[in-house]
């Protein structure tokens, strides 16, 4: 039986509390707060306490999926991005650029956030940029 | 019972829990006990958990407050 405590960081919000994952035989089974972490000092919110539940969830996506013929079909990344780009072009032509919104995240770097809003404003041509922390 | 009464006292909800064993044949005693306890509760004042008093800073907008009133405050149990 291989029982380890692996220190890590909570992936939910931008705070980044330190956690300890309880890993039994390579599988994540529990979450504990890291008492010596400077950010949270041993305290977690309910999302942090239950991280082990969603990480192993069968509902997680493993491959890009594209809806075709009324069903989700597995596809490759290049194909998925190309299909998305084509659909964006269609939507912009038909309904105008303001019909598309972009959601950024607290978990990505500031530089990536900048990139996302630049994409929204310069490429798509819309001001509709919002943040996951407001949701 | 003693345990919960002590705990309530620690919380600031003293004297709101009462246990009485009354047989269904002792109707008079039942009315007497209930009337006395009702008077006692009336004197103690409204249950601080009822209405909108849950949050010390004002109304939380939760309607659970009304339900809590039926769980705490003026309770007595009678065994028939």
């Amino acid at each position: 039986m291989d029982y380890k405590f692996v220190p890590s960081v909570c992936p939910y919000c931008g705070t980044g509390c330190g956690v300890l994952f309880e890993v039994i035989d390579g599988k994540l089974v529990g979450t504990l707060p890291n008492k010596t972490h400077p950010v949270n000092e041993g305290k977690l919110c309910i999302k942090g306490w239950n991280m082990h539940e969603y990480i192993n969830s069968f509902m997680r996506l493993k491959q890009p999926l594209v809806k075709a013929f009324g069903r989700f079909m597995k596809t490759e990344w290049d194909e998925a991005i190309r299909i998305t780009a084509d659909r964006f072009k269609e939507i912009i032509e038909k309904h105008g650029p303001d019909s598309i919104g972009v959601l950024v995240s607290a978990k990505i770097t500031n530089e990536e956030n900048y990139l996302a809003q630049k994409f929204a404003r310069a490429v798509i041509g819309t001001n509709n940029v919002d943040h996951c922390a407001r949701l | 019972m003693r345990f919960i009464q002590d705990l309530f006292k620690f919380m600031g909800l003293e004297g709101r829990l009462h246990l009485a064993w009354i047989s269904s044949a002792e109707a008079q005693k039942f009315t007497q006990v209930v009337t006395e306890f009702t008077e006692k509760i009336r004197k103690l004042g409204p249950n601080p958990l009822s209405g909108k008093n849950i949050h010390p800073f004002g109304d939380t907008g939760n309607s659970r407050a009304g339900k809590l009133e039926s769980i705490q405050g003026g309770q007595d149990a009678s065994a028939g």
Binding site: M1, L44, C45 | L7
Partner: protein, 260 residues
């Protein structure tokens, strides 16, 4: 101490030893086994305060025959083990303990309480008798102020070394509704307090894990006082005491034949 642990593992006195190790500057719980016996020289005991007994309980569920060694770094660890023995969560024959008391889990005095908390709520280093100095209305409003900060993270329950129920009543849909904040105060905390009667060993982990700084230890200390007062039951002192206590005198019935 490390030599002793090495010897235990080599002899087979314990299959695994739960202690602490310094990983990247953090002192974290670690499992020392015979396979990686070289790691034993990294065994440390710092100011870290994790519930190793709870970890042992989880291991014992899946591997009931495994012999586990536990490092006792604080005085509350021994009390936790006693309570777990009493409630049949751990088998005392399979547990080997090693004492290395580095820290005490008594209240650290004095604590600097922020002025607003002093005015509206209750400080963490208060004792039950300090609360009894307030009158009923005052006590109620102070406790409600403290409880209203609760974010229902269940941290107090998750980290408690003596909480082991598979179906926690705090998650019962008829008692605590999911998706509502604040939780049903004060019922939520009072239910937890009542469940801690006879089990709480005053380790302080719940208070340390509460992100809202609710003085849980004060509440559970009062519960412990009531239990000692009314039922004459001292939690965690004796691994052989029954979890129930009988009030009054024991009556022994002698068998007598019906027709005498």
């Amino acid at each position: 101490m490390q030599a002793q642990v090495e010897q235990w593992l080599k002899e087979g006195k314990v299959d695994i030893f739960i202690g602490y190790k310094n990983i990247d500057g953090h002192v974290l719980p670690h499992f020392f086994t015979k396979e990686n016996i070289d790691e034993v020289k990294d065994l440390v005991v710092g100011q870290a305060h994790y519930s190793l007994e709870k970890v042992a309980t989880k291991v014992a569920v899946d591997h009931p025959d495994m012999k586990i060694g536990i490092l006792l770094a604080r005085d509350c660890n021994q009390r936790a083990l006693h309570v777990l023995y009493v409630w049949n969560q751990l088998n005392p024959n399979h547990i080997q303990t090693m004492e290395a008391f580095e820290a005490s889990s008594d209240l650290e005095q004095p604590e600097v309480t922020a002025p607003y908390k002093q005015k509206m709520g209750l400080g963490k280093s208060m004792l039950p008798k300090d609360v009894e100095a307030f009158d009923q209305a005052e006590r109620f409003s102070r406790w409600m102020y403290e409880f209203s900060k609760c974010i229902k993270c269940y941290g107090c329950r998750n980290i408690c070394p003596v909480c082991f129920c598979k179906e926690c009543s705090l998650e019962h849909k008829d008692l605590v509704r999911a998706g509502n904040l604040p939780p049903e105060i004060p019922i939520f905390h009072l239910v937890r307090a009542v469940h801690m009667a006879g089990r709480c060993i005053d380790c302080g982990l719940c208070e340390e894990a509460c992100p809202a700084d609710i003085p849980l230890r004060l509440l559970y200390r009062k519960v412990d006082e009531i239990v000692q007062d009314v039922f004459d039951y001292k939690t965690g002192t004796n691994p052989d005491q029954s979890p129930f206590s009988v009030l009054g005198e024991k009556v022994v019935l002698e068998p007598t034949p019906i027709n005498e």
